[in-house]
Symmetry: C2
Subunit: 308 residues, 2 copies
Amino acid sequence: MRRPHWPQRVTVVEVGPRDGLQNEPVYVPTADKIRFVDALAAAGLPVVEVTSFVNPRRVPQMADAGAVIAGIARRPGVRYSALVPNQRGLDAALTAGLDEVAIFAAASDTFSMRNIGQDVEASLATYAAVCRRADEHALRVRAYVSTAFGCPFEGEVDPRRVAEVAARLIEMGAFEVSVSDTIGIAHPGQVGPVIDAVAARVDRGRIALHFHDTRGTALANVLVGLEAGIAVFDASAGGLGGCPFAPGATGNLATEDLLYMLHGLGIDTGVSLAAVVDASLAIEPLVGHPLSSRYTQAVKATRATSAS
Amino acid sequence: MRRPHWPQRVTVVEVGPRDGLQNEPVYVPTADKIRFVDALAAAGLPVVEVTSFVNPRRVPQMADAGAVIAGIARRPGVRYSALVPNQRGLDAALTAGLDEVAIFAAASDTFSMRNIGQDVEASLATYAAVCRRADEHALRVRAYVSTAFGCPFEGEVDPRRVAEVAARLIEMGAFEVSVSDTIGIAHPGQVGPVIDAVAARVDRGRIALHFHDTRGTALANVLVGLEAGIAVFDASAGGLGGCPFAPGATGNLATEDLLYMLHGLGIDTGVSLAAVVDASLAIEPLVGHPLSSRYTQAVKATRATSAS
């Protein structure tokens, strides 16, 4: 059964190679990252966030950003993106020949200060400059609002504050804003009010949702998002990536778990779930722990049982 | 935000000591099981399914059923129950002095044959006799309908078949029927139609839902159940218990994850989430693998980070 008010089609934004691998403690070799990105694009994922152009001393996992971009086989119709924290990152993305970048602002000053050394207002000034320069080069900019459902330092975050930051990011030129539960604390009761607050300032078609499954609520949150008319969801193959504030805990919502639910609901994504499972299982030995995707672990267990 | 059509209060039926530990490959010592049950009751859980009176050669994990029942400290107001597959199990439960037992029928003949050696019709005849005898002793009977969302052998299961089995169980005297996703395959799109089919035959107030989180969809399924007016949900502390058809995969929905979502929605359960986490963490070293509860893993990781 598909409820008539759910979107018929959903865009899954694959963030595993970036948000996933960036938060894994190990360094995955460049060639494996390239194979991973190519496998995800081949699986039908329409958007792949490939890497981050960040300070390699701070984030050594992403030190090979340029080499990864240079190595992937660009598939027609797939959008490849990279996170850029500032002008320097944008320059690197331009040099790499990307068509799309992502920027991230927080809804909480304390989080913003600790994460990038600027409060929210200062970070928005930085991003406004990034957007202007991106526009000069016809580069599309996607934006995240992090800590949109709670801050590890400040606790509750006012949905109107989230809406304000989201609106500013759209005004400065972002085509879409991904409202993000950075620490995986969101429960379904929050999702409606946060979406409603943001939708009062930003066209609903420009809102994406980015959930972490740290407390198991990610798919329930997605369900509320679908009911609120949201049709773009971020996910990470295998559930790659941890929670930066609770190392060892589960991070991003797994792409496979999201696809299993969406396809069960009769919602079209254009993505092969089986192909994403294979891409995840190929990367699993390199990250040094079992992937957190429940779906992929069930597939693995079923295969092991069938083989025995 | 609590949506007005969600129940204000939910009864969480704790099945960890039974459905959880029965599906763990290791044998947990009797004294630890008793401590576990007592801790869960002390946490405020209103119903605890303590053990199974099953053939100890088939299920050695539950061979100490009588000793566990004898050892627990009965808290006033808490319902203690045990699974009984037949008259012999019922006799043992009566001897142990329980006030409530649980029976389980499948909605799929192949599953029923493989699980208990009887097809569904034969199993219902067995349970009718169990119910008659339970009634003579003023014992309350709760019933499960397993494979209600899919069968590992037959695939899809007709919701009308689920409804028929549920109605027969209520007619023979069960006070509640727990519609169960035995293999953790249910997605939220199925939940509404299955509930609607069962509710056409059984009073909605007598319907409980029992989800496994094998593919990550359990809480999304609960959310749909809440929206359909269901107010009784089964869960297993820590997410104890695997999937019998995919050993190594995640089994029961974790009580902690369920409580986190329900409390977030403003729904009253009367249960202390922190106390359930402590009960789960006390049992974790005995089962030999990390608990599958995302919430409890996040708590563990946060504590480890704070301590370092």
